[in-house]
């Protein structure tokens, strides 16, 4: 079976625009959660988020054509592709998004219903479509292989990366650009999250007793995947390896996780990579910091890993829950940390909730080299996607 190298990484996040700054924040356990500045949130019950400050990417034409989530994907792809030499007809592009171009959608609907405008900007449809990032990447860099977008809420970009991985491993293509993006901070979307009563009024404390909930974030993560021998032959820098992918459905409840589906997805990822549970020494958890997710996830991890007890952290405590970008940003976090021999922490930690058992990495990064890690994404709707990652040696 073909192996799949990661030969490019790009990220846009509240804790770093670019992998170098992002890596430093992860290593220092620095949280990017601040008061929301992009829009007026004075009427909301929560005021904090993990925003990308002063984001700007693209030329004038691109900035007119694309919504914020697509521009963030473009920025992350540009960084990931900086060293790439990919075969145009044999490169896939698979992106994930939960919200699509909701900034422009929000503005358009405000104009329609609030201002009774009768004409829409003709770019409305291309700006709001969820596949705009995939299309942007194919057009800007000329990739003509399979290209599409996955929408599975908070698992979107793990599903995207997993599909791309399978295409490269299976020989459908020789390379792929994959990941996801979401720009979360429009008033309509924030109102909808407010109604769910799961957003924290201040910060995000995954796995802690009395945790106040999740913090929304925005951003993009992109990975360049390449068939291993091809990457080695061209002397590419290899950031790590994707060696397994597992997915499952809870078939249980539209918002409450069952745990059984999470277990199944983790076991499937291990089986797909032919790796024993004991070999996995770190899990970048879904770890939303909500009442519902964290205990169910920790108990599912315990079911799968038992006494081997891998270290666990939630980097959402730093970059927030970036929805359709979450899996991609967390895969980048896991890969850069593993490559440099550390494990990123859970920031803002107080006291561990006894309902969330496990070896939680709190406050400070651990200087521990590991060979294998999992990166979990579990979406509303019970759709689960887990990546099995390996350190490049």
């Amino acid at each position: 079976m073909r192996r799949v190298a990661v030969t490019g990484l790009g990220v846009v996040s509240a804790i770093g625009q670019g992998v170098a700054a992002f890596r430093d924040s992860l290593a220092q356990g620095r949280s990017g959660i601040t008061p929301i500045e992009q829009i007026d949130v004075s009427t909301l019950k929560f005021r904090h988020g993990a925003e990308v400050k002063n984001f700007s990417w693209g030329d004038d034409r691109e900035r007119a054509l694309y919504d914020r989530f697509a521009l963030m994907a473009g920025a992350a792809a540009e960084e990931a592709l900086a060293q790439a030499e990919l075969p145009a007809d044999r490169t896939a592009v698979v992106t994930g998004s939960c919200l699509g171009g909701n900034h422009f959608e929000d503005q358009s609907f405000r104009e329609l219903y609030g201002e009774q405008r009768t004409r829409f900007n003709p770019l409305t449809i291309p700006r709001i479509m969820e596949n705009a990032p995939a299309s942007l990447i194919t057009m800007k860099w000329g990739f003509r292989g399979p290209a599409y977008t996955v929408a599975s809420a908070c698992s979107s970009s793990n599903h995207a990366i997993g599909q791309a991985f399978w295409m490269v491993r299976g020989g459908v293509v020789d390379a792929a650009v994959c990941g996801g993006s979401d720009a979360t901070f429009s008033l309509g979307i924030l109102r909808a999250w407010e109604a769910m009563r799961v957003v924290s009024p201040d910060t995000c404390r995954p796995f802690c007793a009395g945790r106040p909930g999740m913090i929304l974030g925005e951003g993009a993560g992109m990975l360049v995947l390449e068939e291993w021998d091809r990457a080695v032959a061209r002397g590419a820098t290899i950031f790590g390896e994707i060696c397994g992918f597992g997915m499952s459905a809870d078939a249980h409840h539209i918002t409450q996780p069952s745990g059984v589906g999470a277990e199944h997805a983790m076991r499937s990822a291990l089986a797909d990579g032919g790796v024993a549970a004991e070999a996995v020494r770190y899990i970048n958890a879904h770890g939303t910091g909500t009442t519902a997710n964290d205990p169910v996830e920790c108990q599912a991890i315990r079911q799968v890993f038992g006494s081997s007890n891998p270290a666990i952290s939630s980097t959402k405590s730093m970059h927030g829950h970036t929805l359709g970008a979450a899996g991609a940003i967390e895969a980048v976090a896991t890969l850069v940390a593993m490559k440099e021999g550390f494990l990123p922490p859970t920031a803002n930690f107080t006291t561990q909730d006894p309902e969330c058992p496990g070896d939680i990495i709190a406050h400070d990064a651990r200087l521990v080299p590991v060979d294998y890690a999992l990166s979990n994404s579990f979406a509303f709707g019970g759709l689960n996607a887990v990546l099995l990652l390996r350190t490049a040696r």
Partner: protein, 92 residues
């Protein structure tokens, strides 16, 4: 929607009847299944039903139920106590 609240405070029985009506409608259950002391767990009401009930109560009584208070609500008496408190604050 119900008519606007009268200046006279509602009795507990009246409030309970309206609360049960709201919960029954939201959860698509017959009113007869509910008792003034019913717990959400016994009624099979999950967290998603719970936030829909809170939303419906906010609409019904024109109140805003804070998230911290919402987390404590597990039964019809909790709803009654919370709604009474918020209505009293509103009319104070």
């Amino acid at each position: 929607m119900s008519p606007a609240l009268s200046p006279q405070p509602l009795t507990d029985d009246q409030l309970v009847a309206r609360i049960i009506a709201v919960i029954a409608q939201t959860t698509h259950k017959p009113v007869e299944e509910f008792q003034p002391d019913s717990t959400f767990e016994a009624l099979g009401i999950d967290s998603l039903d719970g936030i829909q009930i809170l939303f419906a109560l906010e609409q019904e009584f024109d109140i805003s139920i804070p998230d911290d208070e919402a987390k404590k609500i597990r039964a019809v008496p909790d709803v009654l106590a919370g709604v009474k408190q918020l209505l009293a604050a509103k009319h104070a």
